[in-house]
Symmetry: D2
Subunit: 360 residues, 4 copies
């Protein structure tokens, strides 16, 4: 149950950071969609370790294999699509100290408290490696949204610690995002972000920041009125990502400084179409899309693994210390960008199908 | 589907702001729990319109009736509990202008875009009146958490526009929250907040702010590792509340200004118990509770209905203007407090039962 | 959870045989469907006690009220529809002996074993009174199927004990079913059935039989390939009805006497349409409709309440005897007919929407 | 969605008869259960083609690999368990004629009608090969039921065409079932069944029959009162198996020949325990287990693939004929036995966890 997401376009992920691999089942995909590994691999490459000097040097090719659900002619059959990525560069020895000690601000202790057992190598299921399945499934969702609904999904790094990029959600392009290794489309800010991350890594420390997500072209009417509001499902999707600690949609936390008169988005009509003159609602009103650009921000905390001695406890509940070792990200943000895109796409494609079912 | 929440302790709400009433079905409640209307009414009274000078003067007694699921001896039977609250003070005439015009930053337009039809009186299902069912069901959830698991749930107003209250999540008491009509336990800040809200209301304007939610006594091990992380389910729960635009857990958006070394919560052990010396994780690590106080913040935008002329469009997509009328809240925060508590309790009781099922 | 049925067109029933009433929430109903109590009441009248001399004389008008989900213009809003039927003729005193004794072959003991508590008056939630909500919701489902998809749902009594009616599932009409009080369209058999039921009732005994369900006009392509096969969902729907002990689709149990060569349905094509020359598949192949008439049979055991002393035990697990009292059905079949229709319609409308979502 | 089964112990199967393999994700498994391939392989061997002279000679070793969810010490982690079986002996050429023609009484036409595309080799997802995942997951469910709840699950062939075995559900042993290749514990009947199947196979024909399922040691109180009755979930589970056309629980269809007085199971108490003197209820009353042996019968139609020319249509809807080729089962029953056991175990373990969650 806990490993499935979505009502109609439903994914189920499996796999630990060490072991046979990681994967995902995509159930409910519309039939007759052209689909091959080439549609999926690019997003996995954007998520992959070792892709640049500011992410973990761990070497995983993360090559996806489609195991089921595709016809001999390369089209979706409508039946479950199984995607599998083999684990390659898993060095359990780097984690041997973790066998007996809980890493601070990681999930080691809570998994142990929950299950009475844990996969201590690489964090097991709590590892960001689990997101391979999400990104792979998200690539399919993005393709459907693009081809069948004209919806474009993007995400980018908006802020690293105190460095903020200036980006226009209505106009930003994928090529601008991919123009630098930190995935911030504001080139000047990106340069400063990269230098900060390198400095922080050299100090054996880590840093967090904000990823902004954008969906353009979503027609008015997607989303559900009460519990499954579009914002609610996006919030859940984002907070389900490792290290994510916050979500805000449209004006978000900043919007509370305005009064209602200042905050409201005026409706206007032109050529039989309705639009708003501002977009503090972030494209969603009452949980349902209004046709404007959907945008939101997600906060990712600094990575918990630092190369310094830290106070912690053993599995026997004795006080001890632990120093991070192995190959880790000094900052998750560049690799979080495709994850945010994937989760956004999974939420939207599900609501697209739900809208078709009830009101189509 | 869209009107149900929870996997094992599942609620389904129904009803519009105008019509026969609003209600909720609670399915999956443990049997043999003493339960009467007296357990539920107090939270409805905290949510009720007309309770103070800073909320809408609309008059609804919001008297709850238990329609099913209780034995003659006043105990839960384990079968669905139906709770019903009659609508009393619905004045459709106050909304007649809304029949043809969409209120800015409300859900009028998006409902129409979605369904091709809408209940224009009082916003129908998008009205905050829908939360009656949540608060009623949440009162049952709170009772179970308190009596069976020793968990205490609280929420309070943390911020109104720029006025911030100083509150300690580990120590705050219900009596301090209920000590003033704005429900901010910092008495000095509360006074300023109340004055601000009165001033804003006199200007025909509205204002937003932050509600902080707290859960104390949650044992380590609740929550699920991947999609149904405790933070993810709380985020969804909060963003599903009307006017909520943001959620952050523990250090939240502020945490990104710290480095990993500064941000991590050190584990310590004492008398065979594990605790953390700081709580930037907000009581949740890897989506699972760690035994510390759970706390989070939710942003509520300023109420969209203002008593001023605003640009908007008609149902025929013609430009027009609309001026708010009727009886509205200048600030939702005091009434949002029991809603945040209710949604917190619904998330936690569901995860408590899920933990019992799989690992108990 | 246990009280909800359906994925997209989802109903949730509530209420006990004694208490405030019984009801149902219908969530996911398409918007803009003309709907009033007059669409629902006729099926409730067919289910109602006291409708004829061969059913229980208990007096319930079973008048349905729509509590939510309908616009002022009498159309569905797309939001949850709450239907409520008040309990009227509940005489708890007739059940006083049941307070301490478990009725044989009823659910008294199993509810007590499960919950440690039970609503002993009238069987509480295990009473067939719960099906009021199903029949009411089913009337909406039937209307959608009829108006939007051209699908007709019928059920009728096929067999009472050893008396078997001859009925053609492809041709039978509602008027033939409603032509007599036992709801068997074979008039000659119906006469014998009625006489048998009267005789059995006079003996203080009860009798069971078979209801056959039919769906005509279902297009090829509804149903899911693996777990949610149309037959599987119909089987679950039927076995969830009180007193139902068996389900068979198409050739069913009788089909095992044939060889594969004899059993197979040959495909033929005519004017660009595919059909089968026989219909042993009962309109479903591989769990998916093939365009032929769907038909199936459901076995209802003899009613457990008989007016004779029977061996049983007390709530304190002492041996005792119990003699049925009160007003009971000598045979559930005439009243089971609208229940079978309702459950059939609920399964089909759900799959219609699912098909629209994924493949439409 | 359609490929998942269960609420708390949830399985998701994937894979076609031709392609990379077939598999299953088991989510919600309790942690710390000793588990290896050796716990699963024996049931797969019972389901495997080529196991005897009366089943298809297709050669598949069906060797299961555990891909995730197990600790280095061989225990379940509580996270999803992925089980994978490679396809080995897939000869697409044997199916080339099926590329353009629909096999009668198979799912070829309905899949095409549903999805507009189909995996014509081996029936794709409609192939009984999909049940590999169910049997593998069911082996885990059986182990949990046996070790944690003392529940024993068995199934056996009760009838092949007109040959009926005499078996006592309360006493039958696994060794008696496995004593012959047709899996009928009545040795004399088994001999006649085997001879019939061989004769039928030599005629290029096929035959069906009945598998009876048994669960012993289920405590009173499992199952849900309304839609998720134990019988309802078992019925769905069975009808979701390929070729299954009927389900009956306890007295089933035969029970309708009795009156209520004859049919009722009298309760008796002895040493503080309640039991029934007969078991026409089949261990389930009101959808909830009563502590007696659960038993039910499932009808499997004769296999649709026969080695004779049959009338059918092409994918272009032209009349044609088709003669079965390739390697097929003359009778599915011996291989259906482990499938029935698996589905029974999956239903029961799910209800065991649900009972623990709500009432435990």
């Amino acid at each position: 149950m806990a490993s499935s997401f979505g009502q109609l376009f439903r994914i189920t992920t499996w796999g630990e950071s060490h072991g046979g691999g990681v994967g995902v089942i995509v159930d409910g995909c519309p039939p007759r969609l052209k689909l091959s590994e080439a549609d999926i691999q690019p997003d996995l490459d954007r998520r992959r370790p070792g892709q640049s000097k500011i992410v973990t040097p761990r070497k995983e090719s993360d090559t996806v294999q489609i195991m089921s659900g595709i016809s001999m002619t390369g089209k979706t059959l409508g039946t479950p699509i199984c995607l599998w990525v083999k684990n390659e560069d898993a060095r359990s020895e780097a984690y041997s100290e973790m066998k007996d000690k809980f890493r601070p601000s990681h999930a080691d202790y809570t998994y142990f408290a929950k299950y009475g057992i844990r996969a201590w190598q690489g964090g097991g299921r709590a590892s960001a490696r689990e997101t391979v399945g999400r990104v792979a499934a998200g690539a399919i969702a993005k393709k459907i949204l693009r081809e069948k609904f004209g919806v474009e999904i993007l995400a980018y790094v908006k802020q690293v610690q105190k460095i903020i990029g200036e980006v226009n959600p209505d106009a930003v392009k994928l090529s601008e995002i991919e123009a630098n290794i930190v995935r911030c489309p504001d080139a000047a800010a990106a340069g400063r972000m990269i230098r900060l991350i390198e400095k922080i890594r050299n100090e054996g420390n880590t840093v967090g920041g904000i990823v902004e997500g954008v969906a353009r072209g979503v027609p008015a009417g997607w989303g559900e009125p009460v519990f499954d509001k579009l914002e609610a499902d996006l919030a859940k999707a984002m907070l389900s990502l490792p290290a994510c600690k916050g979500f805000e949609s449209g004006s978000g936390f900043g919007g509370i400084l305005l009064t209602g008169r200042e905050h409201n988005d005026a409706f206007r009509a032109k050529s039989g179409k309705v639009f708003t003159t501002t977009n503090r609602s972030g494209g969603i009103q009452g949980g349902i899309s209004n046709g404007e650009t959907i945008f939101f921000r997600t906060a990712f905390k600094p990575v918990a693994t630092v190369m310094h001695e830290q106070a912690t406890v053993t599995e026997q509940f004795k006080n001890t210390t632990l120093k991070g070792r192995g190959r880790h990200d000094p900052c998750v943000l560049p690799r979080a960008v495709p994850m945010v895109e994937a989760m956004t796409a999974l939420v939207l494609v599900d609501h697209a199908l739900r809208q078709k079912a009830q009101c189509g």
